[in-house]
């Protein structure tokens, strides 16, 4: 499957960087919400969600930010009953709004928030999938224009028979795209 190829390629592309830049992480499946099954003339849908308690650290220059908080991932698997060629898919919604970051302590304590951040993705349904997104974070006393970013790698597991999202892990690390995604040009 093309999906596998792309994911592997993508992971290899920054895996070396991630190894040196990432510090850590965690991810524990806390609970899975009841699923909803719906049937319309054209589609069968199954809804599920997991909430993951996470913690980790992200290094940005000389600053290390401690990240923690729960992330809720909503999932809807859709099977098209009108087509034999369309593969089942999942609609994913990552709710990062409960994540917080901190640096320092006491009078030097700085708290960072993600600004109600969500990320969405459509993916072909498969037993497991890895999705990489960046997450904005900014000093809670300032506005979002000052936002920095870190990387989140979500490894998700699905039940192939029920279509439900069953578990997942989230790994946080430095946003490697800040170097690989920026080029230079000669200025006149």
């Amino acid at each position: 499957m093309n999906t596998q190829v792309n994911i592997k390629t993508g992971r290899q592309r920054f895996s070396a960087n991630v190894l040196t830049l990432l510090v850590g992480v965690v991810a524990v499946l806390v609970l899975g919400n009841p699923s909803v099954q719906a049937q319309t003339a054209g589609a069968s849908t199954v809804d599920s969600s997991v909430t993951i308690a996470t913690t980790g650290t992200v290094t940005e220059g000389t600053t290390t930010v401690n990240v923690n908080g729960s992330v809720t991932i909503k999932c809807r698997r859709v099977i098209d009953n009108t087509s034999t060629t369309l593969t089942p898919l999942v609609l994913l919604d990552f709710d990062f709004s409960q994540l917080q970051g901190t640096t320092g302590s006491g009078k030097t304590l700085v708290t960072y928030v993600t600004g109600d951040n969500h990320a969405t993705a459509i993916r072909p349904f498969q037993a497991s999938d890895t999705i990489v997104v960046t997450i904005p974070y900014f000093d809670s006393t300032k506005d979002a224009l000052s936002a920095n970013t870190f990387l989140a790698t979500a490894a998700l597991n699905f039940d192939s028979s029920t279509g439900k999202l069953t578990s997942g892990t989230l790994t946080y690390g430095t946003n490697v795209f800040k170097s690989s995604g920026v080029g230079t040009f000669p200025v006149n």
Binding site: G42, L86, D143, G181, V182
Partner: protein, 738 residues
């Protein structure tokens, strides 16, 4: 590589590419014959080339999805890739939009009239001869400009619709420095890149016949008369193989009378004009703030002050676009180039970041004190029109009108230029991003994963800005306004806007990629990855004083407005054709079921599917019955609020909690919205904005017809002809319409 991709890879074998090109040529003959009216779709079904549902039968040498003779048994032929003639991405600057001149109404000859001008003129024999009216607007009081005497036009904007030609009067309204060094005095030939061929006059039809795409600048409280003259060939066969010479322009999503809405059945012919009266008013003008005392309900004056107007300031809009809406030809005509953008300025959204009066939100735009313009500064306020295109071996625009699932191009354009670059300063910019594709969805990120601040959806500023590192998918016709702060970069650095949404065909997005996946070059979709390069060229000459306030425009309060009724619309495949009017009805694989009655119906602009009562509020549920497909559904006339997705308000994301006029239903999904019907009347539309679906035949008519004279209940249907518009009774009125 996937086995069902719309376009072949340029690396495919020569045999496969030759096979695909032959298939395209074979299909092209059918497309041309169909567009010239030489064969009907029914003829094609009889010939065994199409199914009753309108799908092309996979015949080798014809369909792109027939099995290839040169590959494994399940691999389709595919479409040949568009040649690039050696052109490299990011090698030419992105032109800013071409601003249409604003003139006094007195320049218009003949002067505009409330009712259509029916002065007779000779009609070309190719159009049937005889005489016909000079204006194509339906005649009489029902199609007269509503509130024309109360809101007389002050500004005239004129344009022609004509074939591709060189632009000798480019008017970006920004200095060359703010336009990536483009000298506006240099003629601009109609090319998708300087290294690509000049487009044939019959292949590309657009406003004034030129690129860059056109932009109208308007402000609240200053009514505009847009006169569009149809200069297209009188001979229907002179269309370059697709598109039609009858047109109707929709100002998406203006709050005005239906006579100005570009109704799909109010089209006009070559050598006619149509006067669109855009009063540019706030919704609720007849019931809210009627004495115009609220500073926030206002437009900007030339002196930097406020022109207070009636209406609800919470209904202020900012980013619109305009495009053709010809019945069953919207996809072809818009793809040919009939699309522009429409910025609306208000006291809140002034387009002048240095005016500090407690009302102006001071969003990134430019300084009035530098430009001398108290509103509408575009230095740091940039319109982006995204569209995927395809061209043939000669570099000429190509389209396959029989891809009823949805048509995809394989080359990304921004402002109709193939993968351009844009020079920016180290400061904040506002981008008004329009998805002007036929069927493609986008999902936008920056190549370094940096945040973007989304401030508006479908032209409506949010209650609060939303910080995102990847935007939600953006369906056809949706507008996302975002702010990017380039001060985080150094001069000499460059970053890219990246498309993460991978299609295999026009049905829906197959997969949203991560940035690394999108940049890997492994996607079989050639429109995935980088499509616009930002070059951080310099520091700003003056400090960036623009703002993105934490509170912008709260939603209108509807809590005291009772819900008059609810309706349900389900968007499906497999429509029934219950009417047969040769002008107003059209059969295709798509359709809409209304209120669970009469089944799924193919489009007929003579059928009334809903008729909300004037002055009321309703709740509408939009259901996707089309299985795993997606449909971006557009409702004309007034902005709506999203109440729920898939049955829950909690499922409405932050970027949809403002007002909207297009909703991606998502595969297997549904959306519940609420909307009001006030201020104006007439016949409007609701349709899928995957325009291949819209044209085949996922569109319905609804109307507000009980507001008193001159309206009748029900409204008669206009049937345009070059010799004059006639009216006929509705072909059908659904039982729950009234």
């Amino acid at each position: 590589m996937s086995d069902r991709n719309f376009f072949l890879s340029p690396k495919a074998s020569k045999a496969r590419l030759r096979e695909a090109e032959n298939a395209r040529k074979n299909r092209w003959e059918i497309i041309s014959a169909h567009s010239h009216g030489q064969v009907t779709r029914r003829d094609l079904i009889k010939m065994g080339l199409f199914t009753g549902a309108g799908l092309m039968i996979p015949i080798s040498g014809l369909s792109p999805f027939a099995r290839s003779a040169f590959a494994d048994s399940n691999i389709p032929t595919g479409l040949p890739p568009s040649p690039l003639f050696g052109v490299q991405a990011f090698s030419t600057p992105m032109p800013r939009f071409d601003v249409l001149p604003r003139q006094p109404v007195s320049v218009l000859t003949p002067a505009p009239t409330a009712q259509a001008n029916t002065t007779q003129q000779p009609v070309d024999p190719a159009l049937g001869g005889g005489t016909g009216p000079i204006e194509g607007r339906p005649p009489g009081p029902i199609w007269a400009h509503q509130q024309f005497s109360q809101l007389p036009p002050v500004i005239a904007i004129q344009a022609t619709m004509e074939g591709a030609k060189t632009n000798n009067v480019y008017n970006p309204t920004v200095p060359s420095l703010q336009n990536s060094g483009i000298n506006p005095a240099t003629p601009i030939p109609y090319k998708f890149h300087p290294g690509l061929p000049v487009q044939n006059v019959l292949k590309d039809w657009t406003y004034n016949g030129t690129i860059p795409p056109k932009l109208m600048l308007v402000r609240y409280g200053e009514p505009v008369l847009f006169r569009l003259r149809n200069k297209l060939p009188v001979n229907q066969s002179q269309n370059g193989g697709f598109g039609i010479h009858t047109i109707s322009t929709h100002e998406h999503n203006g709050h005005h009378g239906a006579e100005n809405d570009g109704f799909t059945g109010a089209f006009f012919f070559p050598n006619q004009f149509y006067d669109y009266h855009y009063p540019v008013v706030l919704a609720g003008r007849n019931t809210i703030n009627t004495t115009a005392t609220d500073n926030r309900a206002s437009g900007p004056t030339d002196a930097g002050g406020l022109n207070k107007i009636p209406g609800d300031w919470h209904e202020t809009m900012s980013t619109h676009w305009f495009h053709d809406h010809m019945f069953s030809f919207t996809a072809q005509n818009v793809y040919k180039g009939m699309a522009g953008m429409f910025n609306i300025y208000s006291g809140l959204d002034r387009g002048a970041e240095d005016i500090v009066d407690g009302v102006n939100l001071r969003l990134p735009s430019g300084r009035a004190s530098v430009s001398g313009k108290s509103w509408g500064n575009l230095d740091y306020d940039v319109n982006l029109m995204l569209a995927d295109k395809a061209w043939d071996v000669n570099g000429q625009l190509a389209m396959d009108i029989f891809e009823f699932d949805g048509f995809l191009g394989d080359q990304m354009t921004v402002n109709l230029i193939y993968k351009p670059f844009m020079e920016v300063e180290r400061r904040k910019y506002r981008f008004r991003i329009l998805n002007a594709s036929v069927s493609r969805f986008f999902k936008i990120a920056l190549s370094d994963g940096s945040p973007m601040i989304q401030i508006a959806n479908d032209g409506n500023l949010f209650p609060h800005p939303v910080t995102l590192t990847q935007l939600d998918e953006q369906g056809i016709a949706e507008r996302y306004d975002i702010v990017i702060d380039f001060s985080r970069y150094s001069v000499g650095q460059k970053i890219w806007m990246v498309n993460l949404a991978e299609h295999q065909d026009g049905k829906r997005v197959d997969k949203d990629l991560s940035i690394s996946e999108a940049l890997s070059g492994n996607s079989p979709d050639p429109c995935v990855g980088k499509f616009l390069e930002f070059r951080i060229a310099r520091n700003p000459a003056q400090p960036d004083i623009s703002q993105v306030p934490s509170t912008m425009i709260p939603n209108p309060d509807l809590s005291n407005i009772p819900v008059a009724r609810e309706r349900v619309f389900e968007f499906n495949r497999g429509a029934n054709q219950t009417t047969n009017d040769p002008v107003s009805s059209f059969f295709g694989p798509w359709g809409i079921e209304t209120d669970n009655q009469r089944g799924t119906l193919a489009a007929d602009f003579g059928r009334i599917s809903a008729a909300p009562r004037f002055g009321t509020r309703e709740i509408w549920t939009l259901k996707n019955g089309g299985g795993g497909w997606d449909h971006p559904i557009h409702i004309h006339f007034e902005e709506c609020q999203t109440l729920a997705r898939d049955g829950s308000a909690a499922n409405v994301p932050a970027w949809e909690r403002g007002r909207k006029d297009v909703w991606r239903l998502r595969p297997g999904g549904e959306v519940k919205i609420t909307l009001q019907f006030r201020d104006f009347g007439g016949m409007f539309m609701e349709h899928c904005h995957n325009t291949m679906h819209e044209d085949n035949a996922m569109l319905l008519r609804w109307e507000i017809d009980d507001g008193g004279a001159p309206f009748l209940r029900p409204l008669p249907t206009p049937i345009p002809k070059p010799q004059g518009v006639t009216f006929v009774p509705p072909t059908e009125i659904l039982p729950t319409a009234f």
